[in-house]
């Protein structure tokens, strides 16, 4: 049963990519909705299996690591697989209604969407350094293709900038992988960790970790390497922006975090950990500040992503040479932050897309009076904002509460300031949007009313993000599950 679920998880996105490539947009939409159903069921099945029996290694092609590629199917991985299924299906349903089916190039949306999904699954499950590289490239190229789809000069400029940044990041990562392979002779993360447990750290491998983390930080848009993100996320179609902000940047962060948690203790050092944390804090402050100053609605949301990504990098200082319990708290906090931000930001971008569609303008000041016409979308936007502001009972609150405790527990009180300032600034930019939409203007505006289903999807996502705080204990318990078989050959 587990084998079938794994095969289904790996096979369906790739197969549906091919199927939708052969059809036009309208038929591709039907095919995709069928595929989404399969993929959600398979992800849910796998999550249930892992939460019952614990994690396992899955040897592709029957070849064990280090010769073959092994997938690491643990609680954290299946949680993210399920999260991807939820967010991607929401974006898929939204895109099916949102995107104009009459343009001939829009048929290519579906294959790129499915390739993106398969790349995400490959990254969540990957246990092999080089395989993770291929997964990252799968994600980057399909994301660039989605941003550029049918594009005007502005979209092409943004996607080119995105492509160059992503390629440089991948190369830095690959260079690190080359050094690791030269040092350890294997690409399996588990194999390297296993060897490091019993042997002294060989000289010269710190640079490998630094290169990999730097490359991944560029792909995650960590300050000051964030400048490619706002144009790309701002100009793409709203369902694409939602996918990019909610999931794509998380994939590279996930690899960086996994590498740091496994190899950071032997190969890293305190200064590097503090530096990454400092950059993350700078991202929180600078990103939020710029979000407050943007004139375009989607740019506000995009800069808010830069800020929210900053929080994630607090993982580095909060897990380096601290006690076991503090490290666990930090890991749980960051995981909750990833999940709640993914749900909230997807909801926000989809709701922003509705607002843009309705007012016919991308600017914030064009929102005047929209609260009467589109209260539902505006409400979803604000609810997602509540999670970003980390007010209780949202997932964002639970995440920041854990991070707060971890900062205090490890004596690194300065991160608490970042958490407070970031929360305040995010309240400012969310309220700014709400204020703009509650203003009334004397001239009656003509608003286009989007389809009802477009409004329901962001609401569901926002409610999920809001409710995450209530079920955080259950979510975290699945991630903490032990492995079925410890270690790897």
């Amino acid at each position: 049963m587990t084998l079938w679920l794994m095969a289904g998880l790996l096979f369906t996105p790739l197969a549906w990519a091919v199927l939708t490539l052969l059809t036009d947009f309208t038929r591709g939409r039907l095919v995709t909705w069928g595929g989404i159903l399969v993929q959600v069921l398979v992800s849910l099945g796998l999550w249930l299996v892992v939460s019952r029996d614990g994690g396992f290694y899955y040897a592709l092609g029957g070849w064990q690591a280090p010769l073959g590629i092994e997938l690491r199917v643990d609680g954290l991985a299946v949680t993210f697989v399920l999260l991807t299924a939820v967010v991607a299906s929401a974006c898929g349903f939204h895109a099916g209604v949102y995107i104009d089916p009459d343009k001939p190039w829009h048929r290519y949306f579906w294959p790129l969407f499915w390739f993106l999904w398969s790349g995400l699954n490959a990254v969540w499950l990957g246990g092999d350094l080089f395989n993770l590289y291929v997964g990252l490239e799968l994600i980057s190229l399909s994301a660039v293709g989605l941003v550029a789809l049918g594009g005007k000069a502005g979209a092409l400029r943004a996607s080119l900038r995105y492509l160059l940044a992503a390629l440089l990041g991948s190369l830095a990562y690959l260079l690190g992988v080359a050094l690791i392979y030269g040092q350890f002779g294997t690409l399996s993360i588990a194999g390297i960790v296993f060897w490091l447990e019993e042997h002294p750290v060989p000289a010269g491998s710190s640079l490998a970790l630094a290169l990999m983390v730097a490359g991944l930080a560029l792909k995650t848009a960590l300050f000051p390497l964030h400048r490619w993100l706002p144009p790309a996320h701002g100009i793409a179609k709203s369902p694409v922006s939602a996918l990019l902000s909610a999931l794509v940047v998380k994939a590279s962060f996930y690899i960086a975090a996994r590498l740091w948690l496994e190899l950071g203790e032997p190969l890293g050092n305190l200064a590097a950990a503090q530096l990454v944390g400092l950059l993350g804090s700078a991202a929180v402050v600078w990103g939020s500040w710029l979000a407050c100053r943007q004139m375009e609605l989607k740019q506000v949301v995009a800069y808010s992503s830069v800020a929210q990504i900053g929080y994630l990098f607090l993982l580095f200082p909060l897990t380096y040479s601290v006690s076991e319990s503090v490290s666990l708290q930090a890991q749980q906090g960051i995981t909750l932050q990833v999940i709640s931000h993914a749900l909230a930001k997807a909801a926000m971008f989809l709701a922003a897309g509705n607002l843009v569609l309705s007012t016919g303008s991308r600017r914030v000041d064009a929102l005047t009076g929209v609260s009467r016409f589109l209260p539902f979308s505006l409400f979803s936007f604000a609810l997602a904002g509540v999670s970003l502001m980390s007010l209780p009972p949202s997932g964002g609150f639970a995440a920041k509460w854990l991070l707060l405790q971890a900062s205090l527990g490890s004596g690194q009180w300065w991160w608490v300031l970042v958490l407070l300032v970031g929360g305040l600034l995010s309240a400012v930019y969310v309220f700014r949007i709400c204020r703009a939409s509650f203003l009334e203007s004397p001239e009656t505006n003509q608003f286009y009313h989007p389809h009802r289903s477009l409004e329901i999807i962001p609401m569901i996502l926002a409610l999920l993000s809001l409710g995450l705080g209530l079920v955080s204990a259950e979510v975290l318990s699945v991630m903490a599950l032990p492995f079925e078989e410890e270690g790897s050959p």
Partner: protein, 106 residues
């Protein structure tokens, strides 16, 4: 100093040259070429470094083959995007546009 190590060190130099090109040049095609030079450098390090224990190692060769195909795919996509961008905007670089400036507010 063995021959493979020489390759790996040459690869390191190519990485440095490519990085400089990517950071400094503004013409998009030159940036793309710089990316390819840096990529070749990475591949050289990858193939050259693990050979210090006698005999070539087929695994990194296979990895590099995969890496080359990925790099070709990315390069080809970038060329198509650059051509279309040039066709639409008449520009060959990403600089000189007010929209890309940070801050946004005037």
């Amino acid at each position: 100093m063995t021959a493979p190590l020489l390759y790996a060190l040459a690869g390191a130099m190519l990485c440095g040259i490519g990085l400089f090109g990517l950071l400094w040049l503004s013409h998009l095609l030159r940036k793309l070429l710089a990316f390819n030079i840096m990529g070749s450098g990475v591949f050289l390090v990858m193939v050259g470094l693990p050979q210090h224990q006698g005999g070539p190692d087929p695994v990194p060769q296979a990895l590099v083959l995969t890496g080359i195909v990925v790099a070709i795919a990315a390069t080809a996509l970038a060329v198509v995007l650059i051509r279309r961008y040039y066709h639409l905007s008449g520009m060959t670089s990403l600089e000189g546009d007010p929209a890309s400036r940070e801050g946004g507010a005037e």
